[in-house]
Symmetry: none
Subunit: 220 residues, 4 copies
DNA sequence: GATGAATGAGGCTTCATTCAT
DNA sequence: CATGAATGAAGCCTCATTCAT
């Protein structure tokens, strides 16, 4: 889950501080959960699988997490935190709003290239989980991401960089959605995206779509 | 799940022919499945819930469907069929590619307004389902939808209506993705979308995003 | 669990009406639960054991009872109902208060002779269960039993049959307690109580204790 | 768990000698076990709870006790030892058998007033424990208590103080049973017993019941 | 002695599926 | 067609016990 390295801008490593406190095995469990979760989805993800994948005993999962929901909530939170930190770092960095949006797209594709499972969790499982989860912190984190992107859009509109007649929130959702389904298509195999050059192409495509749309004619 | 009625174009009713054969209760079960499925997701959707929701006896579900997977596969198929038929009808109708894409967006938003649960199933459940399903006809149907939209894009490119440098498949995925997450945001409440005028605004926003992107500057 | 047949008075069969509604297997489960519960106590009583003992499938227990607590609560309720109905029948029958108390003692010993496990459940598990249960209907039923006996005592006091200076509630608790621990001693083997003549002796002993105490001297 | 201080006779402090050897934390664990055990019963009593209640580390419990059974067996033994020592001291002291029985009742009520949880353990948990325990020293200790009281009764019969036609063992069980359920009723709240004067009343009631029974008429 | 992380068997509960009526 | 009782495998969670530090 490295930062993007794409010749334009390289967002900082946005990993949550691996607090010296955090036990190694807790982290192992969390990582394992990401993989299993990504592969089987929320309900298909069995604690036994996670434990096995993490190489720890069944019971240890419950030493560190109250129950399955809390574990998966943690997975969500962590993944979103990484993504949100990246967005925030990008937003606070130099460059125009357009460039920021482009960087976000590139970052997402880069992360996908490195650890597709993380992206699957990040993008495919949101809002697809039982209400318990949706009611929790996950929903808020999701909204935070949208809000951050919307903030960038708003700034771009103020600075004359982006279309002023677009609703920032809808725009943010649209951009993230385009990103998501494109990556989904890659995950599913509809689109090539694994090789280095494919990834570069994907980035360009999504950025192009988000910034310029499909029409050849200027709006008006 | 009526066609859109939006002053521009009204796609035909794309419901699968309610073959005189189909028993009323089978249909009731299918409808109930859509609702429950949409509300609880694949694994959260219990046969008992569907039966209760449909107002039929437990065992009857197994009279009409071999098992849970087949039931949900049917739900998918039916929903996608409706959507695909609509896309196909639009694609075969008069108008430029741009107009077709716009119509597709409007149709989706209209359907969402009428039966959000159908949209949830349609859009949110695709990638979450166990592999059994993904390997089945569902995946193909999903790909069919993408392919149809990609076809429209391709035609638009030939006719000089749409940007020629865009990958049609990625473009199709992006458009559907933007559509999806915008509606998701509406479902989740991030964006207003329930009232008539909100729906109209959503349509315009998504269409604008898909056709013109966010940038004020023409690409070049 | 027949009525007593002891030459003095024969209380009516106080079984709860075997409502034509009640499924046979539900009853089988309940009976099995009594036995297993009595043998292993609340926590030692595994659902699997009950199911096996009842000769039904594991899951059927959950068809008829929401969960383990509800099952055991039902066991309690049923047992207490039987006992309370007997007490009530005795209390409403002819005879002095002293005779009623004696009948209650005899009834208890008789039931014990017939189905010791029922008595174990009835007497040994009360107030020894997790708070969930104690908070439930069980506690109230227990109090009902005490109250009924206290009522008999009160009447005896009015009619000059029983000591007027005794607190009816404490007296009722004492009587039931003497009954309980005597039967417990029988259950545990401290006291002979299985054979017919042993049972008769037990009855006489307890009745004697409850009515006349141990002292040779009249209280003064 | 002090001796009774009730104006009539004050049994000696029957605590087991706190051998200078016994580590302070071992004692803390034992005391904590009494409380937790009393509150939750055998199976509801988790080692973790005991450790927390005692304010010691999880593993330390296993440093002092081989396993859960041994811990609880120790609790039982200690509690019974206290009670049995008290009975023995009373039995060996001066006074008639009637007075001895009365003293035992008063002692029990006094202990209850001071530490209800100890009484709960003492009285309520005997017959509920898994067979392992019942087979162990606990059962014997319980029988010892009954035997001691029965011995007092026997002496009273020899000395013409108590009814000669009563079975000493049944009488002992009855007396202890009356005591138990009366205190249970107090624990459960059916009867007032917390205040000083309530306790005094309880004592008088139970003693009256045990010695004179409920009947106004002399037996015969 | 003292700590608490680590282990894993055991029990409760759910729910897809079958089947007799 | 329709019903719902019956089945049992599968997964979550607890908690006694061990062990390295």
């Amino acid at each position: 889950m490295p930062g993007a390295r794409n010749g334009k801008r390289s967002p900082p490593r946005p990993e949550p501080a691996p607090s010296a406190e955090e036990p190694e095995k807790r982290r192992a469990i969390l990582h394992a959960a990401v993989r299993v979760f990504a592969e089987k989805g929320y309900h298909g993800c069995r604690i036994a699988d996670v434990a096995k994948q993490a190489g720890v005993a069944y019971g240890l999962v419950y030493h560190y997490f109250r129950n399955k929901d809390e574990l998966l909530e943690s997975v969500f939170a962590e993944q979103w935190t990484i993504f949100i930190n990246a967005i925030r770092a990008i937003a606070e960095g130099p460059g125009s709003a357009s460039e920021h949006l482009a960087s976000i797209c590139r970052f997402a594709v880069d992360v996908y290239k490195t650890s597709p499972s993380a992206v699957r969790v990040l993008l495919l499982e949101v809002a697809r989980t039982p209400n318990v989860l949706r009611a929790g912190s996950t929903a808020q984190t999701f909204q935070t991401a949208v809000a951050l992107v919307a903030g960038i859009v708003r700034r771009g509109q103020r600075e004359g960089d982006l279309r002023g007649d677009a609703d920032p929130t809808v725009a943010a959702a649209s951009l993230l959605g385009a990103l998501e389904l494109t990556l989904t298509a890659a995950v599913v195999g509809l689109v090539e995206g694994a090789r280095e050059e494919d990834a570069e192409r994907l980035k360009a495509e999504v950025v192009g779509f988000a910034l310029h749309g499909l029409s050849v004619r200027p709006r008006g």
